[in-house]
């Protein structure tokens, strides 16, 4: 027993070091993003005060606003102040809502995250079933049907699909609400209002992921260990889901990571189509209102969500494939 603890501890230490390095990369990426966001919002030509107040405003009023927003300080100073405050959860006060930006984010982030997560789960489930079915019926009817459906899915824009879904399920059949959000107090009503947005988000993404799953599974099916599993008398489903799928996961997880970013940015459109009070709708309104601090904080939030997803994908690789763990040094 004592013998086997040794290599495992080494493994744990290596794994810890690997995660630590990824965390450093995670933080550096976010710093780089923050510089880009800050530059885009503050240093590029154009006077925010002029944007907010319009060209009819007086020079005095603009100067007063600049001072109120702290824009008269040097840019470098303002950047570090922004970062310093942001790390402590202070993103400034929203110009258009008159409340701290952090409050707005805390209030609205559950909506966006639940949309993105449920969209991702639905995407993955649909894509895996479709992709594995297609691969196991390679060059037969099942394969053609799945590929045709996914071709359709890839070709349809999400916002158009969402309108068709609303027409059918909300307007004609009246099964689901056409938009709006009843609040989290009634979980059933909340889930009902999330169904159509989730489906609109997920269908297009799952069409893409189904193709990745299919081709990755087809590549794995050729391997000898799949023949071993068949020779062991396992059912087709067991061979596919327990032996083929895990080995096909690396490319699938990579795409899922990228798609999560697409889903999060997709919420901007979908939340507007369905009138859902999330970060996507908030960023849309803040841009219209020229609400500088809010937009800046929200872009940063979206970046954090996407970079976190990629960080999790990196960790997932090592959890999926023990051979990568050996190489994490």
């Amino acid at each position: 027993m004592r013998r086997e603890n040794l290599p495992q501890m080494h493994g744990a230490v290596r794994m810890g070091y690997f995660i630590f390095r990824r965390l450093v990369g995670f933080v550096l990426t976010l710093l780089a993003v923050s510089v880009v966001v800050f530059l885009a919002m503050n240093v590029l030509p154009g006077d925010p005060a002029l944007n907010i107040l319009g060209i009819e405003s007086s020079e005095d009023a603009r100067a007063a606003l600049r001072e109120q927003l702290g824009l008269d300080e040097p840019a470098v100073f303002r950047y570090f102040q922004w970062i310093f405050n942001a790390v402590q959860g202070d993103f400034g006060v929203s110009y258009s809502y008159g409340v701290p930006v952090s409050e707005l984010i805390v209030e609205r982030i559950p909506m966006t995250l639940s949309l993105a997560f449920s969209g991702m789960v639905l995407t993955t489930v649909v894509a895996l079933v479709m992709g594995i079915t297609a691969a196991s019926h390679h060059k037969k009817t099942g394969d053609w049907v799945v590929m045709l459906l996914s071709q359709l899915g890839v070709a349809i824009p999400a916002f158009w699909l969402s309108m068709l879904l609303v027409l059918l399920f909300a307007v004609k059949l009246r099964w689901l609400p056409p938009g709006g959000f009843a609040g989290w107090d009634d979980p059933l009503a909340a889930m009902r209002s999330l169904v159509l947005p989730t489906v609109s988000l997920a269908l297009v993404q799952s069409a893409v992921l189904a193709r990745v799953t299919r081709s990755s599974a087809l590549e794995v099916i050729r391997h000898d260990f799949v023949r071993t599993a068949r020779a062991s008398g396992f059912s087709r489903q067991r061979v596919l889901w327990r032996h083929v799928l895990p080995n096909a996961l690396i490319p699938i997880v990579t795409i899922v990571g990228l798609q999560f970013a697409a889903l999060v940015s997709g919420t901007i459109v979908i939340e507007n189509v369905f009138y859902l009070p999330g970060l996507g709708r908030l960023i849309f309104q803040s841009i219209s209102n020229r609400d500088l601090f809010t937009v800046q904080a929200l872009v940063m939030m979206f970046a954090v969500i996407v970079v976190s997803a990629n960080f999790l994908v990196d960790i997932a690789y090592v959890l999926i494939d023990p051979r990568l763990k050996a190489r994490t040094e």
Binding site: E4, F234, R323, A326
Partner: protein, 320 residues
């Protein structure tokens, strides 16, 4: 136990296996030898009901008295791992790289025999001991890439034995291993076959391994079984020109010690599946070929040692 009658495996007009008949009983140890591409592996796969979809199978396969449709997965599946099991050439590729060794070996016991995890672990450790796997407790938790080639092949053997099959088919089990390890794996297979009264089909192009391990031998060339009989007798007095050539092409210690000379070879190489002669598959490379050999398929002739399919033997038999 398992019987093949006039089994052919064909791809269009080309035959990977032609008219093969054989019968295996409990405790038999049968060697199948021949060059690469002579149909040995197809013969083995047809005994598992696992011939690739692209190829057509004809003839009869009877398993424990039941006729088996060659391609019906649902008919074959209950027999795999339980009636017969197979181990493959590349032990690294044949193991799922993402699974711990223990989980891989336990899976058939848990699925087919319904063993609890504790019972499956116990049985796996027994199998590890039986197949000579070192540090069995540690192996349970390791992944295939952490094992040596010989240990991996032992794991595959343990996996094949998981549900106590009556027949073990080993397709070139030692080709990917070095000579020393290869010898020990061959001996292990013989020992297991004896102890468990389990039939063994050893497919190999290593005549030495087959001579050491098997009681009977099939010599295949170009999809045909060209000679068969008791291993020792056939190898001592081969009747078919191909078997003679194969034996002549083996390196020998006394040759290496004596004066240097080139290893004798069979001239030419095995033609592709579509270029095989219609009659005797060996025509074109045979040293004692007669004009009609390429056209007509030789029948099996009884020899002193067993059977061989060669026109020369037929003529000789008639003449003498």
């Amino acid at each position: 136990m398992i019987e093949l009658k006039n089994l052919s495996v064909t791809l269009g007009a080309a035959a990977a296996v032609r008219d093969a008949s054989l019968s295996i009983q409990a405790g038999d140890r049968l060697g199948v030898v021949g060059e690469s591409g002579c149909g040995k592996s197809m013969l083995a796969l047809s005994m598992m009901g696992m011939v690739p979809d692209a190829l057509a199978v004809s003839g009869q396969i009877t398993l424990n008295g039941t006729a088996m449709p060659p391609r019906d997965e649902t008919a074959w599946r209950p027999h795999r791992a339980r009636s017969m099991a197979m181990i493959f050439q590349e032990p690294m590729a044949a193991l799922n790289p993402l699974r711990r060794i223990g989980d891989t070996v336990m899976e058939p016991m848990r699925v087919h025999l319904g063993l609890s995890r504790e019972d499956a672990i116990k049985r796996t450790l027994d199998l590890f001991a039986e197949t000579g796997i070192r540090d069995p407790e540690l192996r349970l938790r390791q992944y295939p890439h952490q094992l040596s080639g010989g240990q991996r092949q032992r794991v595959l053997i343990a996996l094949a034995l998981a549900c106590d099959p009556a027949l073990l088919i080993a397709d070139e089990p030692t080709t990917a291993l070095d000579a020393n390890v290869s010898l020990r794996i061959t001996d292990l297979l013989v020992r297991l076959s004896r102890q468990r009264n389990m039939a063994l089909v050893l497919i190999s192009h290593d005549l030495g391994a087959v001579a050491r391990a098997t009681k009977d031998i099939l010599v295949m060339y170009g999809g045909d079984i060209v000679e068969r009989g008791p291993t020792a007798a056939v190898l001592a007095h081969p009747a078919h020109p191909y078997t003679k050539g194969l034996l002549g092409a083996r390196p020998r210690i006394e040759q290496a010690a004596g004066k240097r000379r080139h290893l004798p070879t069979i001239p030419g190489s095995v033609p592709g599946l579509f270029d095989l002669p219609k009659g005797c598959r060996f025509s074109g490379r045979c040293s004692v070929e007669m004009p009609h050999c390429a056209r007509s398929k030789p029948e099996n002739v009884n020899t002193e040692q067993g059977q061989a399919a060669c026109h020369q033997l037929k003529e000789g038999h008639n003449g003498g």
